[in-house]
């Protein structure tokens, strides 16, 4: 059985234009995530918010090993994956804001970004839930006799889910073109790798399932790209799935609601010394690819782009109340409501009065005007003006991280 080269190819710098674009995208992701955190603190973003600060090299290094017609599928930590595929930051930020121009129409939020046109096949909120779907996408590619590859990213925690073993097995059995990439950021939420996985050399976890492993330094975009490029080549040409472990570190909490009591400040500081973004920028300056001034300009451009994204998101309207039931089903020729209860009977019982009205609304997808009015006036459903906040330890303590 052919296996991927154990030693990654020599890490040479890509063409200057490509190198600059990688730095720009890593910078955009960094600045986007920082601003998303600020917007969360200012209650513009609701729910949970998982940032990938510190993991930018894993995102850019891997995605840039793909062709445009390859697929990328990710997890609940997926803002960067949307951005790297080219989804405009305006639409990613609008999704965080829950607005109609969000890349999922405001339906998904932070954990459920999606951009079909760019073959970003989604962020998924269930740990390990995206692995079988990745295999299905790859099955369709294979079935169509195309040489498209699917890159499926997930965290170290997901390597303990049943879907990990099940999917690697079926992918190897059916020779599906999937690169499985475990982004090992050292923690499954707040549980350290050595406390959640008996085997901590994660690249080996696929061996017994017929999936060879590779490893890259996820703090180094060049190494990540080199290893992923080899993995993608192997999968595309040899029709054998590969598991790549990217060693990285999440600089911020698991989500914004994370008091980070499971790790020391010193540990975080030591990883921050290996911050992939300045490391790559300094390398490009040192190698003469960019000037120091250009490095600053790239940063300023990223900040300006994120400013524009916030402005756009803030100006985008919330989805209309009438859209609540849109896209529960593909309706084709049917009318909305048909799939709940197929009643269109205008001559329904005239005598049951108010009780029947309530039932009709419940099954017929009509929004009572009193409710929309009350919500608009802030009278119902909101503990905090502007949004609902999950009652986690950090939020309950009033921590505004």
């Amino acid at each position: 059985m052919p296996s991927p080269s154990p030693e990654p190819p020599a890490q040479s710098l890509p063409e200057p234009e490509r190198a600059r674009e990688w730095l720009e995208t890593m910078t955009l992701i960094r600045r986007f995530e920082e601003r998303a955190g600020e917007m969360y603190a200012r209650a513009k973003v609701g729910g949970f918010l998982h940032l990938s600060i510190g993991e930018e090299a894993t995102i850019v290094g891997s995605a840039r090993a793909l062709r445009d017609d390859d697929y990328l599928i990710s997890t609940y930590r997926s803002h960067g994956h949307a951005l790297v595929r080219g989804t405009p930051p305006e639409n990613v930020m609008a999704e965080l804001f829950g607005r109609v121009d969000g890349c999922s129409g405001g339906r998904g939020g932070s954990m459920h970004m999606f951009d079909l046109a760019r073959r970003f096949m989604g962020g998924y909120g269930i740990v390990g839930g995206n692995l079988p779907i990745a295999a299905g996408i790859a099955l369709a590619s294979d079935y169509k006799d195309s040489d498209e590859v699917t890159l499926c990213t997930f965290g170290d925690g997901a390597s303990n889910q049943g879907t990990f073993g099940e999917t690697l097995n079926i992918a190897a059995l059916w020779k599906l073109p999937v690169v499985f990439m475990v982004t090992n950021n050292q923690f499954g939420m707040g549980t350290a790798l050595r406390r959640h996985s008996a085997v901590t050399d994660l690249q080996r976890k696929g061996e017994s399932l017929g999936v060879p492993g590779m490893r890259c330094d996820g703090m180094d975009v060049l190494d990540t790209h080199a290893v992923l490029a080899e993995a993608v080549r192997h999968v595309r040409e040899e029709r054998q799935p590969v598991l790549v472990e990217a060693i990285t570190y999440r600089f911020r909490g698991h989500s914004m609601a994370d008091p980070e009591q499971y790790r020391t400040k010193e540990e975080v500081a030591s990883w921050r010394e290996r911050d992939p973004l300045p490391a790559f920028a300094e390398l490009l300056v040192r190698e003469g690819v960019i000037e120091e001034s250009e490095r600053e300009r790239i940063d300023e451009q990223a900040i300006a782009r994120v400013d524009a994204a916030v402005e756009f998101a803030d100006a985008s309207p919330f989805p209309s109340p009438e859209s609540l039931y849109d896209d529960v089903y593909v309706l084709d020729r049917e009318v909305q409501g048909w799939y709940s209860v197929a009643t269109t009977d205008g001559a329904a019982d005239e005598s049951s009065g108010a009780a029947r009205d309530g039932a009709q609304r419940a099954v017929n997808d009509e929004i009572p005007q009193q409710l929309t009015d009350a919500l608009a006036a802030g009278e119902e459903g909101r503990e905090t003006p502007g949004l609902d906040r999950p009652d986690t330890a950090a939020n309950a303590g009033g921590a505004d991280r």
Binding site: G105, G108, A134, A342
Partner: protein, 338 residues
């Protein structure tokens, strides 16, 4: 018309849709070389080959998830799960993914996936292979749910399910696989979702039977007519999502009495939901509370005498109808007399 067994009707539907649409792919445990645990897919591997009829490992959640991903990117997978109890292993992919992807990604992706599975008691398969769990799937917006009781409906609904753009939970019944029925020969014979079948017309009471219980209700109706002079109208909804409530309400307005028969558990069941809808929308037409005849509120026992007590039979339905018509105060009739 051709006489064929329920399993043969399903097999014909799969064969016709495989032949009609290159995007249709079958996946499941033992559906190929073995021919299917209940022989529904018998012969299809030989006819269509391993690319389109795929034996899978025993990994229910993952094979449904593979179907989800393949459906999102252009195929029309039909996944077979060996029993409905095994579908519980796949609940994450069915509920969190198949049912929600179209909505949570703002309508960008479609999941035209069919997940087939048999349910039902009567074969002494005990507490992990015999349940009727259609209510669990009925609960979930984003899913369509079919529960065919006849060979013709099995074929017509499965063909419609495969052509639908939405994820469909297609629930067959283990006791029906060998039952024969008349099936139209037309390759384009389709049964639309959301269209109930009035199996028997009557004026005294409306009997709604779910899945196999549609047939049991018909037998009860024959007894009611022959021995009690009661004309029962028997309605088989055929699909639970969407539900053809109009046909049921029209019948209730005519008969003013309703008994719902299901094999599943009483609490939070199909009948509980339907009784609420009837109460909300036709209260003034009811001369008695809606009655339910359900499976017993127990995990399914293995021993034959106990298993027989744990799901409804025609005599219980007859008794429930008579109680309703007498305006007796009998409460919900659970199998086993609970």
């Amino acid at each position: 018309m051709t006489q064929m067994r329920y399993r043969e009707a399903l097999n014909a539907a799969l064969r016709e849709e495989l032949a009609r649409d290159e995007r249709v792919v079958l996946m499941g445990e033992d559906i190929g070389v073995f021919g299917g645990a209940f022989k529904v897919t018998d012969g299809l591997l030989e006819e269509f080959g391993e690319r389109r009829v795929r034996d899978t490992p025993i990994s229910e959640n993952t094979i449904v998830g593979v179907g989800v991903g393949a459906a999102m990117t252009g195929l029309r997978p039909v996944v077979e799960l060996m029993t409905i109890n095994f579908a519980l292993l796949a609940f994450d992919q069915i509920v969190n993914h198949a049912a929600h992807i179209h909505y949570m990604f703002g309508g960008q992706a479609r999941v035209p996936l069919v997940v087939r599975m048999p349910q039902g008691a009567g074969h002494q398969l005990g507490p992990t292979h015999s349940h009727c769990l259609e209510a669990l799937f009925l609960h979930v917006p984003g899913l369509l749910v079919a529960v065919p009781a006849t060979a013709a409906d099995a074929k017509g609904l499965l063909k419609s399910a495969i052509r639908d753009e939405n994820p469909v939970i297609f629930i067959e019944h283990e006791s029906l696989y060998g039952v024969r029925g008349e099936v139209p020969d037309d390759d384009e014979y389709l049964v639309g979702f959301g269209q109930a079948r009035v199996a028997r017309e009557g004026s005294d009471v409306t009997l709604v039977g779910i899945s196999r219980m549609a047939l049991t209700a018909e037998r009860a109706a024959e007894t009611l007519a022959a021995e009690h002079g009661v004309q029962a109208e028997v309605i088989d909804p055929r699909t639970l999502r969407p539900l053809d409530l109009d046909t049921i309400l029209a019948s209730v307005r005519k008969t003013n009495h309703c008994v719902i028969v299901e094999e599943g558990w009483p609490h939070g069941g199909v009948g509980a939901n339907l009784a609420a809808l009837i109460g909300e929308q036709a209260f003034d037409h009811l001369d008695a509370p809606v009655q339910r005849v359900t499976g017993a509120d127990v995990p399914m026992p293995y021993s034959k005498p106990l298993e027989d007590l744990a799901y409804p039979h025609a005599p219980q339905i007859v008794a429930a109808v008579l109680a309703t018509l007498n305006r007796s105060s009998t409460s919900a009739a659970t199998a086993g007399g609970a």
